[in-house]
Symmetry: C2
Subunit: 235 residues, 2 copies
């Protein structure tokens, strides 16, 4: 089992009303990439958000305007320190500034998370599958910080066609013990892997991850990754 | 830029006194993998810990014995709930049970984190580089949970030869804005990517990640990823 990760190049900047699947299909053609059954297409949420019009013109382009927008986007605030707000989004994800981002957009504007990134992933998957006659997964990503580790990594905020979590419960390790460690957040590992070719400033908003041998899932959601409040020890 | 991730197969179970680099070299030969300049060899810490003898026979193999060992390994405890302890290790990493693991070891034993995983990575890198005449990176990984997201992902606990964090400060995005999001924990993304071929129960304790275009670093450490206490909002 070898994994290959290909950048999808040649995707232009999205604007409201663009079709994400069509843009990815165009990029695949430009990149001379042919999708195979089992491939996973990873798409940065910025492409999705822009295509879906989740971009806000700030009345006040300074820190106050940004702060107001963060408060609007947040379902709850976990911590504040100076200009940094750690918040839970309406989807349930915990991240800086409730996902409001001012990078990779024009001055005075901010980009929000898609309203329903799982639905966005699902729509893109169906369109791509129908267009190319393949069975794939789609993952929509964002770049999050972590509580105790410096630096950012990409994680999944939307998924379609593959499980969000792979459960090893019931399998045994090489010693025949039942594994105590059970649930791997495989879509987050896929998101992180894809970021290795998507980078931060390179104009590559999508990637193809090939060689994963995942079961198909018609019901998985990235919101499955949200730790329920009752289990959350860090609020 | 395409990334390829290869499993390193044919590495036997390690026991105390084994040489990690020799074991990886043997696995590379068995797997018919030739290392290239710029490749990153990812090694699960369990191989390193076993080779370094960081394995403890529990006097009391039940929950009490395990709990005592976790307390011993922890530099500080962040939270406790039932049998679960979230602790900071002496290295500074925050994880469940201070890194004490009972999976993939014999009954009545537990495996600890390596004493200095950066030094372990460095030694392995030097030996492999000398043996094969290549310039590589080495990452030592463990499997951690996250505060607000279900499921586990692999992260770096040791690194040598490549940066732990890539700093995009000073670069501009495709709109010419200076990027606000700056520091990517690239070794954690590499660790997560490698886990896609190493899996949990497959007897593949190492992987090769090819195609990264990282600067070399002789000074990076995975402990660079530890968020300083002064910045930590979640204790």
């Amino acid at each position: 089992m070898t994994i290959e990760i290909y950048p999808v190049k040649g995707i232009p900047e999205a604007t409201e009303g663009d079709d994400v699947a069509e843009m990815v299909l165009g990029g695949l053609a430009t990149s001379e990439l042919t999708l195979h059954d089992g491939d996973v297409v990873v798409i940065t949420h910025k492409l999705v958000s822009k295509a879906e019009g989740a971009v806000v013109e700030l009345d006040d382009p300074g820190p106050d305007g940004h702060r107001y927008l963060v408060e609007e986007e947040a379902a709850s605030i976990l911590r504040r320190r100076d200009a940094l707000v750690i918040a839970q989004t309406r989807h349930g994800f915990v991240c800086a500034n409730a996902g409001v981002d001012r990078s990779n957009v024009g001055a005075g504007t901010a980009i929000l998370l898609p309203r329903d990134p799982d639905a966005s992933a699902h729509r893109a998957r169906r369109r791509i599958e129908q267009a190319l006659g393949v069975r794939i997964g789609v993952v929509v990503t964002d770049t999050f910080g972590r509580a105790w580790r410096r630096g950012l990594t990409d994680v999944a905020i939307g998924v379609s066609g593959i499980p969000a979590i792979v459960d090893y419960r019931g399998t045994t390790d090489t010693h025949g013990n039942e594994l105590i460690v059970t649930e791997v957040a495989v879509v987050d590992e896929i998101a992180a892997a894809a970021d290795l070719v998507m980078g931060k400033a390179t104009g590559v908003p999508a990637a193809v991850v090939r060689g994963l041998q995942l079961e198909r899932s018609e019901t998985s959601r990235a919101t499955d990754l949200v730790r329920p409040a009752a289990e959350d020890m860090f609020r």
